[in-house]
């Protein structure tokens, strides 16, 4: 019975490889295997600063961190209050502007999650994630 269980499990595990492999080929241009955010969707603090008033800074950190300090002119948009805060981003957005989303550091996920939702749900183009987040922005200020 044990060998039958193992054999069945192995067959199922092997069968699942086939559609998984096909899907990986289908999505090859949509997901980067190297980094969570494709290089084309990342921006450094220096690049984003160079965009000047053409950049809309979106702070994806929790409310308390935004209240304590943020990039000058940034608007807050976090997932906890997405529906409430999204209108203020849309109010300052225009087609020629670039959106730069940041969270606290290199290891945080909030910025890429907010950027993904801005692209997918709000249908905004030119949405970038700030490499290194708030920490990197502070360093670049010095």
């Amino acid at each position: 019975m044990k060998s039958s269980l193992v054999r069945q499990a192995l067959i199922l595990a092997a069968l699942a490889l086939v559609p998984g492999f096909v899907e990986a080929i289908y999505f090859r241009d949509k997901i980067s295997w190297q980094s969570p955010v494709p290089a084309s969707e990342m921006v450094t603090a220096a690049q984003a600063r160079a965009w000047g008033s053409n950049a809309i800074w979106v702070d994806a950190r929790p409310d308390a961190e935004f209240a304590s300090d943020h990039v000058p002119g940034a608007v807050s948009l976090n997932e906890d209050r997405w529906n409430e805060l999204l209108p203020q981003v849309l109010a300052v957005w225009s087609p020629e502007k670039k959106v730069v989303v940041y969270c606290s550091s290199l290891s945080c996920n909030a910025s890429r999650e907010v950027a993904r939702r801005l692209r997918k749900e709000a249908q905004l183009p030119n949405v970038f994630v700030l490499k290194g987040g708030w920490e990197e922005w502070l360093k670049s200020k010095k």
């Binding site: 019975m1 039958s4 269980l5 193992v6 054999r7 069945q8 499990a9 192995l10 067959i11 199922l12 595990a13 069968l15 699942a16 490889l17 086939v18 559609p19 998984g20 492999f21 899907e23 990986a24 999505f27 949509k30 997901i31 980067s32 295997w33 190297q34 980094s35 969570p36 997932e79 290891s107 996920n109 890429r112 999650e113 993904r116």
Partner: protein
Amino acid sequence: MKFVWRIVDLVVGGIFIYAGAIKALDPAQFANDIDNYKILPWTISVGLAFYLPWLEMLCGLALVFRLFYRGAFAILIALISIFLVATIAAKLRGLDITCGCFGHASQHWNFSAHLAVDLAILAALLALWLSTRAVPARGSDR
């Protein structure tokens, strides 16, 4: 009593088919969800994001049609146990996990809700497993 277990089969199988299908439709989101646990490198998260949904769906179908029945149980019990341990470990490490196991609807579930749903599914799987040990399932040796 056999009729009741058959219903449980269909419900649990259906849950895994649904959960797998939702994730297979948006592998980028699922890769991010796996990456949120900060256990695996990004490349492996992407590979799993393509593979695991199909494995879940195949195992769900195996429960529904009672083919490779025991193998499917072994895989699903292993998957949900690993997921439970990872969720608890993430909580202990202070990570804010968005699981997305059941698509967008589950993204804002809190830790207790995640735990309750996973434990309920694990309990149902174990109960089914024990019931089939008492009365061997039709075609279980296939």
